[in-house]
Amino acid sequence: MPGKKIKKVKIDGRRIACEKEETILQAAKKAGIEIPTLCHDDRLEPYGGCRLCIVEVKGVGRPLPACTTPVTNNMEVRTENDTIKRIRKNIISLLLSNHPNDCMRCEKTGDCALQDLAYRYDVDGSRFEGEKWDLPVREDNPFITYEPDKCILCGRCVRICNEVVMAGTIDLVGRGFNSMPDTAFRKPRSLDNCEFCGQCVSTCPTGALTDKKGRGKGRTYEMKKVRTTCSYCGTGCNFDLNVKNGKVVKVTSAYDAPVNYGNLCIKGRYGYDFIHNADRIKTPLIRKGDDSFHEATWDEALELIADKFSGLMKKYGNKTVGAFSSSRCTNEENFLISKFARTVFRNNNVDNCARV
């Protein structure tokens, strides 16, 4: 069976046992050895675009990208030497040479992979002078702000849109220095082509793609991140509510979530306005004789429901009532409601809105 064969690999002098299909990057990660990357996201196929992860492999004349190179038996890897360090610095310098370097007012500051790497390798944008992009900010999507000038062309947005979401909204367009991610014929990202899932935002390592609703609402380090399970459907995706001053200001991906690995749909990522909405219903409401609603406690409400159901069953028979649950309920809740119908109503009248 492929994937089971064990390979012995040495990275920075440490022995690591690897499975056959693993890459150098995966092997290193397992052993807690860090290799810098910009275009890698565990949710995506290895890409090899940013070239930061190049490492020295004994016996090979040129550095190899750790993210796409599979391990081989007895491979010996050094994650950095003088040449590789120089190349990494030059790659970051080149990226910064076509970047606004606008960290002070950038939405991404504090959570930006490029900023972190520039800090770690101590480079600024001054080594290579030359043409810089000066493109307008794109606000053509109701949920996503796109600042092309900050794009480093890691291709992550493009790949998540095509590999994971399979929406095919964007791809790289143009060639050479002018290539960039965009829609076909550079049309607006609109209802015609976009799913508004914000997956591209979740993978963008820089401030090129940001959540419009969260812009200007606070820095990453000011946010309390509260892990929660999405309440929209039964899949059970996890994400982090970003809370500042007791208010949820945005939702960010929980990449380690076992159910969804940071992937979310439009509802989970952007459907949080209801939380602080004035119209939100926070208690059960009971309709009075004059058709008006009145706030009630759960006890009052459940008691009323029990009374009504027993009355109906007594008068018309137990077949006349049923249970209809919501697709926002979890599997466990749906199981309970069906059990309730069978044991209390003693019938099979169970249904759910998600059966389309």
């Binding site: 290895p46 890409y47 090899g48 675009g49 940013c50 070239r51 190049i54 040129r62 550095p63 990208p65 796409t68 190179t69 599979p70 040449t83 120089r86 190349i87 030059n90 790659i91 080149l94 990226l95 040479s97 076509n98 290579f128 002078e129 030359g130 043409e131 480093i152 062309l153 291709g155 791809d171 790289l172 143009g174 060639r175 050479g176 220095f177 002018n178 290539s179 960039m180």
Partner: protein, 617 residues
């Protein structure tokens, strides 16, 4: 004028054919007459269709219409000597005369004097350069191109076509691969990988179906050997694909060709049609049980789509962008299946390897590079065009014997650029080196697909490398940082050096960033893009320094660095320069020698052009 000429022969012919029916009556005898007109793209652009039409009209006018139809006015493919197009062979009683630069208005005289009267028009015949151009060449692929009608499968069969495929299909797959390995054939698409070995790797892959792809993207600027082979002999490529497909076990072949090659595509379509009708493509070929089909995939003409993984992506309908190897296409190629990709020229070598044998092929060429290579010879050289030479031939023979030496007598050879934008330059001092894969690599260049640009001392090496890097920059797919932004910054540095604002640190910066781009780019484009710059710095560093430190372009090419000075001795005081100068930089008064005020001069060159006495330098 054309009318006048036409009017004359009419009267003459009638009298001649009446009065002199003796030896010249051979003329109208269709058996003894063949006219070959070059109809490659170069030929067509030079007007070969008009020439053919003109031949028909003229022959008709001489009452030869019935005798000379299409049969005699054969269309042949490119024979390489494009500078002299339209080339026409008139074969009369077995002796061939070749005319160069034939235009429709020349036909009446050729018909009248040569075909009717048996006296070739000497002054229009090709000169000795045509013969030196051809004599040092070893034509295997191009020979057939000049001989047969590419739109007629019977012409190809007539010279032994499809015998190679027939032979291959009578052997086992293993035997075919062994034969190709033994021949030493290496890929002509650039990297020079052993073709037999590539096939062996693919045949060992167990996944099915398998594919064979012919790479006819040909994106190097100035290269046109693959196009010429397809236009001149499309069946040889198809036959090569059948042999390769059989050897690796592929039943489907793709030809990936740029849409900018409409004539080649047209001829391929005709050839595939004809081969299918003959049963060379289709089910149970030569009753061997082997099925094979060929599909044409037109590309939009991006240079990067010549890279094999980008080419595969393009066929799959994705953006043409390379991916990391491994996995190699022989294991995971088109649609994830084992795939062999071979260049046009590689494939068209196969039929003769099968018929004449591996040892015949390996007897041509050098120790590690076997066979011949087609080059597109261009630049400041007398004879430009397509040439086919045995591997290992010296540069000197190519330049001086085949190429006829420098175009301008007073110019000296400076360097030769091989391998197009991925290659490097070879200085004149290395002119005796052999041209093969290893030697070119050693000197920092490469074979590439076969571009060869000859430069004389009026070529600026900085400007030349700027040209190549601007090409690779605009063709970079954008996937990886060093290639996408690195080549852009190199281009900007070269632009400022040629623009007169280079910095002293620029040369070292170019070397450092160029080295890093080579080391860290994903695909062959980025890995070789800095070669032209690095090799010119290596051999012509002084020229870079002169631009930067002295503000002088030694070759006088870089406009911004030009300085216009009036040679007082030669000045005849006419004042023409002062009159044309747009910025009043010329100080002149009647009966006084002119002087240029450097601080006012905008280097437009108007005075230089205006001076009737060449007194301005």
């Amino acid at each position: 004028m054309a009318e006048k000429k036409k009017a004359k022969p009419k009267t003459k012919t009638t009298t001649r054919s009446k009065t002199k029916p003796g030896p010249k009556a051979k003329g109208p005898d269709v058996e003894g007459l063949t006219i070959r007109v070059c109809v490659g793209t170069g030929g067509l652009a030079a007007g070969s269709q008009e020439v053919i039409d003109s031949f028909h009209t003229e022959l008709k006018a001489h009452g030869l219409e019935a005798a000379v139809e299409k049969k005699c006015v054969n269309k042949t493919g490119c024979r390489g000597f494009c500078a002299k197009d339209v080339l026409v062979d008139v074969i009369l009683d077995g002796s061939t005369s070749t005319y160069q630069r034939v235009r429709p208005e020349k036909i009446s005289r050729i018909v009248e004097e040569h075909i009717i009267n048996g006296r070739p028009v000497e002054e229009w015949l090709v000169g000795p350069d045509y013969h030196t151009f051809h004599d040092k060449q070893t034509k295997i692929l191009l020979k057939q191109c000049g001989q047969i009608d590419p739109e007629d499968i019977n012409a190809y069969i007539g010279i032994g076509g499809y015998e190679g495929a027939k032979k291959a299909l009578s052997l086992t797959e293993f035997e075919v691969i062994e034969e190709v390995k033994k021949s030493g054939l290496r890929g002509r698409g650039g990297a020079g990988f052993l073709t037999g070995l590539k096939w062996e790797f693919c045949s060992m892959s167990r996944a099915t179906p398998k594919y064979i792809i012919c790479n006819a993207d040909e994106g190097d600027p100035g290269a046109f050997m693959d196009r010429s082979i397809i236009e001149g002999n499309p069946h040889s490529v198809i036959e090569g694909m059948i042999i390769g497909g059989y050897a690796i076990g592929a039943n489907t072949g793709y030809i990936y060709i740029r849409a900018e090659y409409p004539l080649a595509i047209e001829r391929l379509k005709i050839a595939i049609d004809e081969a299918t009708k003959k049963g060379f493509i289709g089910k149970d070929i030569f009753e061997s049980g082997f099925d094979f089909e060929i599909r044409i995939k037109e590309g939009a003409g991006a240079f990067i789509c010549g890279e094999e993984t980008a080419l595969i992506a393009s066929i799959e309908g994705k953006r043409g962008m390379p991916r990391s190897k491994p996995p190699f296409p022989v294991n995971k190629g088109l649609r994830g299946k084992p795939t062999v990709i071979n260049n046009v020229e590689t494939l068209s070598n196969l039929p003769s390897i099968m018929t004449k044998g591996a040892s015949w092929f390996s007897s041509i060429g050098s120790e590690q590079s076997k066979g011949t290579k087609v080059f597109a010879l261009t630049g400041r050289i007398k004879n430009t065009g397509l040439i086919e030479v045995p591997m290992g031939i010296s540069l000197k023979e190519i330049i001086y014997d085949i190429g006829g030496g420098m175009e301008k007598k007073n110019r000296k050879l400076k360097a030769v650029q091989t391998g197009g934008p991925s290659g490097g330059c070879i200085p004149a001092s290395h002119i005796n080196m052999p041209v093969d894969y290893e030697s070119l690599m050693r000197i920092g260049s490469m074979m590439g697909s076969g571009g060869m640009v000859v430069m004389d001392d009026a070529t600026c090496m900085v400007d030349m490398s700027k040209f190549f890097i601007s090409f690779t920059q605009s063709e970079s797919c954008g996937k990886c940082v060093p290639c996408r932004i690195g080549t852009k910054r190199m281009l900007e540095i070269l632009t400022r050096i040629t623009g007169g604002s280079g910095k002293e640190s620029d040369i070292d910066l170019l070397i450092e960033i160029g080295t890093d781009i080579k080391l860290s780019s994903l695909c062959g484009l980025g890995q070789s893009a800095p070669n032209p710059v690095l090799s010119t710095i290596n051999f012509f560093r002084k020229e870079y320094e002169s631009h930067i430190k002295k503000g002088i372009c030694p070759a006088g090419v870089c406009k911004a660095l030009r300085q216009y000075v009036i040679n007082a001795e030669a000045c005849k005081m006419c004042g023409k320069c002062a009159r044309v100068c747009p910025s009043s930089a010329v100080i002149w008064q009647p009966k006084q020698k002119a002087v240029i005020n450097k601080s006012k001069c905008v280097k437009c060159g108007a005075c230089f052009d205006a001076c009737p006495f060449n007194s301005i330098m």
